[in-house]
């Protein structure tokens, strides 16, 4: 699977969270739990997005430790990113 640009990943993530691209700034430092759109439903979308782009499932025990976008990238594995 091709490596992904961080910027593209953030856009995929915003899409999964149904945040309009121009609406809100999401950076590597953004804490997902601080986002209004982050809830148990959006977690399903993030799981689907990660499976679609990386063919990978993140164990829920790892998922519950995720705080920032950057820590989500670490859970997926930095080797998947440019």
């Amino acid at each position: 699977m091709e490596k992904m640009k961080t910027e593209d990943f953030i856009n995929e993530l915003k899409d999964a969270l149904e945040i309009k691209v121009e609406d809100q700034k999401v950076t590597l430092e953004t804490n997902l739990k601080d986002l209004e759109e982050y809830d148990s439903l959006s977690v399903l979308s993030i799981i689907a997005m990660i499976d679609k782009n990386f063919g990978k499932q993140i164990p829920s025990s790892d998922f519950s430790k995720v705080t920032t976008v950057s820590s989500l990238i670490e859970s997926i594995g930095k080797e998947h990113f440019e």
Partner: protein, 332 residues
Amino acid sequence: MSVKIVKIEYYLPETIITNNDLEKQFIDWSSEKIEKKIGIKERHIVKEDETALDLALEAGKKILKIYDKDRIDFLLFCTQSPEYYLPSGACILQDRLGLKTNIGALDYNLGCSGFIYGLAMAKSLIISKIATNILLITSETYTKHIHSKDKSNRTIFGDAAAAVIIEKSKNEQIGEFVLGTDGSGYKNLIVPNGGLRNRYDINSKEIDDDSGSLRTDNNLYMNGPEIFNFTIDAVPKVVSETLGKNNTILENLDYVIFHQANKYMNEYLREKINIPKEKFYLNLLHTGNTVSATIPIAIKDALGNKLIKKGDKVLLVGFGVGYSWGGTIITI
């Protein structure tokens, strides 16, 4: 010897909980968002004094209006909400439905895979000449196990019972089965207390799941993300194995009915497996996820809505609690 499903009926309890009802109780829960994402608008739930056996009885009575009860010589009853530890609900049902006494009857405990397993057992009982006409009832009341403040599970699950009759037939109308089990995931969908390992505990403390839902260990617990991970992994495999075992390909099928878990998950699985939208059943709008009853309800409704017709080949796949899964292909 060959078998087929000859009748299907289902029963939904009278009480309805709508998304608006839930929205009133859970202030940050958007009715519109639920319907769009999960595909559920309302769900039927049992009353305090109504049980899975009561629903099973109603579904059973409905089917016996159109099928001679004296022809039934085996009763299979699937539920995870039993009346008692013992006796079997199936024994009580035999009497209340007025079935003959010289028949076999048993309960089995499965959830979302329960209907597929029921068909597999019914087929083998007929082929082995143990029985000829089987009444299979799947009935579930997960709402009995769900905490009143557990907004996630109260949103997803509804109660229902379905009854089907399986008979001998000239042509094979229930195909080959693929069944699977992975008990390593048992803790991800569980009612921890109330059995003999952990007794029901009136003082069990409330647990906040971090997303605004509360429960205790006496209630149903579902680790949604982990269940989704399991289905992403298991369902594409069971689809391809079921097709392989029946020597067919997706293109040769007329229709596909999965256990109706929730719209988002099923739609993601459909895309991942490349099932055309027009061949894929997706309807939880008025019932929610009714566990072992979703597949027979879907078959009945798909017939009623003329989405499927006599002669159609339909892939059925059930997956969930256990983990347990199964697939087969039926001819309508």
